[in-house]
Symmetry: C2
Subunit: 505 residues, 2 copies
């Protein structure tokens, strides 16, 4: 390695340290910070971000990248150093393409729009928020223009979050999903009584829930020597490096799913971080491949493992010992069915496995239409409600539980939602491959042996960090680019069995 | 204010943010960080320190300080801006005088010496540690030479921690203390049976202790909306800005004093920070005047308030309700006497109010003798043991509980110990003044009214932050520079009464 590459890594290491320090501060803010700390913390985070950005987007990094290109030209595509230079250059070019005043405008617009969105949601009054959303759409357009795109403005935004995926490719995937899922949702709705989930609302001691959840995720493979679990309003996973990846959860006495499945979801993210190759530490490669690939791991562990019959054959006895009163008279089969209850609902974050992607699909469509000008912001509520009716078969009573429900559009960033659906699809695609190579997977899960599954995922996905784009990673791991088929097959089989439905076929 | 002063404040604000971010990381490391996080955290802290130092000690700050001198020349000495430029210049010149390679050598020497000191202490084998201490003495000499001094090398080191105080002045103070305290200690030791502290070892529920301690310190005035209390191995106070000043405590079932008096001690530091003027936020003035003045507040609240008879007349009833079993048959007078038990002991951190300063005195003497070459490091254990015998009247059985007990000499920094004694003296000097102005202080304390005392301290001490040197501050607050007399009078009276001793006179 030449001195140039060394120097590049030094700077990238400092940038990583600054970002991780910011992450510790953000974690503290969500968990333990007293109310008086808000103002000081905002100053601290702003300073860390400004210094980190100015170090990374500096002329020096550009010069070093140019010099490093030659150094890595002969190295294999997947080597640490070649990947480092390739991915860092992508980040660098994106960072340099955005004019600083646009970055500032975006930060300000988000800060101003957020309380307005909050008020509009409280009052179910979209017209309050509309001018701010118009401004955000306009800023998204300017970001797309600054970054550049060949075909559609959404491509530019998507390339920041899910590099290598195009809007057209996503549209194809979503069309396939729509055709398969809309009829399945209708089938399930017709047979709604087939699953009774009242047991989940019987009342579960919160302290016991939190303790049980943490013990369970450590059994899955979350390494608590390199992490910890705390409580926060919204669960999240946050990494400060390979040695310290933390999760949070929340807990409700009245609804069992929140804590346990929240913890498994976050532990999925956390195990991904904990499995990234140590040689990538303190570089831009020490992260997940993309938000979508990251979400594949939270979803895989939460739903495909944590909501499987084999999983509950293993854990139900201990769960019953932990909650003898609440689970009286309920057997493992009933419990497994309860945690898989599916029904069309208004709120994305409460949606089940079957309906979830339809919530994302409509947001993806609406973002594109606004960005391309075919949908005016003032017409958004009408379009929203029509799509809920079409896809989920339900009426939206007011905008609070409709178009105003998500915080995302109060930020400027579009193209964040697709990651959630990509996560579901990628998880299923990996799982199809895993089942092919590990035919006894259910047996292992039933015996509480999660090591082989984790090892497979570490070897094929986690260790590579951010070396590959989602499609590159999936080609390597499964032989195919990202595809909707495995997930469609998975939900048809699982929910067909649960609901005795024709599974939309 | 000119653009230059504005720009200076901008840079100082960034430096403050970086240092505070480092403080959050350090707090986390001592409270919640999982064991695996050590390595990543070291990288993060090193990066933050390096950037903070290079911003502060930059040529630009020097140029801005020169430009700002003219701006503040007409302002009053105690104005925010004049104080800012004056104190920042002092810090800046010290930072610039130390060559970067010396700073690096010091950091490395400390890192290398610490585990050796630990092993030497475990094995009670001073000869293991001696070469490292020799090196540390040598580095202290080089620091003193780099900083410069008129008379004695210790002056240079002392000026960094307690600006304006000279080694000669301290020597005078310590001589006065020695003459007054050595006979008092002997008196107290002869009447040791006058105070029985067995009640403190009866067993106190740890959770109740921690809860009680936090409730108590909020009654004293620690603002929990701008702070919190957690557990750590060694109690400490750490500020992240006026809105967030945290304390930690520790708890022992077998020894009551640790948690409660630890919490009051730290709350004293914390109330100081919480009272610094908000206009000084994000500048080098947002801090205590010096470690010694800071310690005056922890000691004042812990000992002069928290170990007073009036204090326990107020709190004992609620303490008894919290620990009905442990405190059965013990009245408030017995309890007040128990928490004031005095006896000569080997270990500094366990020493009581009377004997504590003698531990500091001998360390101050020995540091000076090593620095000036009149004491060789190899002869240190002998000198140590002789001084313990002379001042405290006891024998040192081995170096683990003797010369190897403190971590401080494994760091390079000398001249830290005197701050502990200065704290005791300054606390008593302030208290003398307060009692003169507030004759009903004991009545207020007995009624649980701590507001007037806190307000006095805020007005005369806390709000000024780091504007004044210890002597300047004491001149303003009490009309006199730092002096030993009030403290000597205080312990003579208090312990004379407790032990019926002649109080060393």
């Amino acid at each position: 390695m030449t001195g140039k590459l060394e120097r590049l890594k030094e700077i990238l290491g400092e940038v990583a340290d600054l970002n991780r320090a910011g992450a510790v501060l953000a974690w503290d803010q969500e968990t333990f910070m007293p109310p008086g700390g808000v103002e000081n913390r905002a100053d601290q985070l702003t300073t860390l971000e400004r210094i980190s950005h100015s170090r990374f987007a500096s002329d020096e990094v550009g010069v070093l990248l140019d010099a490093a290109d030659g150094d890595v030209a002969q190295l294999p595509f997947d080597s640490d150093d070649a990947s480092l230079v390739r991915v860092t250059r992508r980040d660098y070019e994106q960072a340099r393409k955005l004019p600083l005043d646009l970055v500032g405008e975006i930060a300000r617009a988000g800060t101003i729009a957020r309380p307005v969105w909050q008020k509009a949601r409280e009052e179910a009054n979209f017209s309050l928020f509309a001018p701010y959303l118009e401004r955000n759409v306009e800023l998204n357009r300017r970001v797309a223009d600054a970054l550049g795109y060949k075909k559609r403005p959404y491509d530019a935004l998507l390339d920041r979050t899910e590099p290598g995926l195009s809007t057209d490719q996503l549209e194809e995937i979503f069309t396939e999903l729509k055709q398969a899922i809309v009829p399945l949702v209708a089938d399930v709705a017709r047979n709604a009584d087939a699953v009774d989930d009242s047991v989940l609302h019987r009342g579960f001691d919160p302290d016991v829930q939190v303790r049980y959840a943490l013990e369970l995720v450590t059994k899955l493979g979350y390494d608590i020597e390199r992490g910890r679990q705390d409580l926060s309003t919204h669960p999240f996973t946050i990494p400060f490096g390979p040695g310290d990846v933390r999760i949070t959860t929340r807990v409700s006495r009245e609804f069992f799913n929140e804590c346990l499945f929240g913890s498994i979801h976050e532990a999925g993210h956390a195990m991904y971080y904990q499995g990234v190759g140590k040689s990538l530490d303190r570089t831009p490669l020490w992260d997940g491949a993309s938000p979508g690939v990251h979400e594949s791991q939270s979803r895989l562990w939460e739903n495909m493992v944590g909501r499987s019959a084999a999983f509950w054959r293993h854990f139900y006895p201990s769960l019953r010992r932990a909650f003898p009163e609440a689970l009286k008279g309920v057997d493992e089969e009933q419990f497994f069915r309860a945690v898989n209850k599916s029904y069309p609902s208004l709120i994305r974050v409460e949606a089940d496995e079957v309906t979830y992607n339809l919530h994302i699909l409509m947001r993806f469509e609406l973002e594109n239409e606004m960005l391309e000008g075919s949908l005016k912001v003032r017409d958004l509520p009408e379009a929203w409600n029509a799509r809920v009716k079409e896809y989920l078969g339900i009426e939206v009573p007011n905008d609070s539980v409709g178009v105003l429900q998500d915080i995302h559009w109060s930020w400027v960033d579009f193209a964040v939602f697709p990651g959630y659906t990509l996560g579901n699809l990628i998880g299923a695609q990996l799982m199809e491959k895993i089942r092919g190579e590990m035919p006894d997977l259910d047996g292992q899960i039933e015996r509480g042996e999660f090591g082989p599954l984790l090892k497979w995922l570490q070897g094929r996905v986690y260790q590579h960090g951010r070396k590959f784009t989602p499609n590159e990673l999936m080609e390597r791991a499964t032989g195919k680019p990202v595809s909707a088929e495995p997930w469609i097959a998975y939900v048809r089989e699982k929910f067909g069995a649960l609901y005795g439905a024709k599974a939309g076929r």
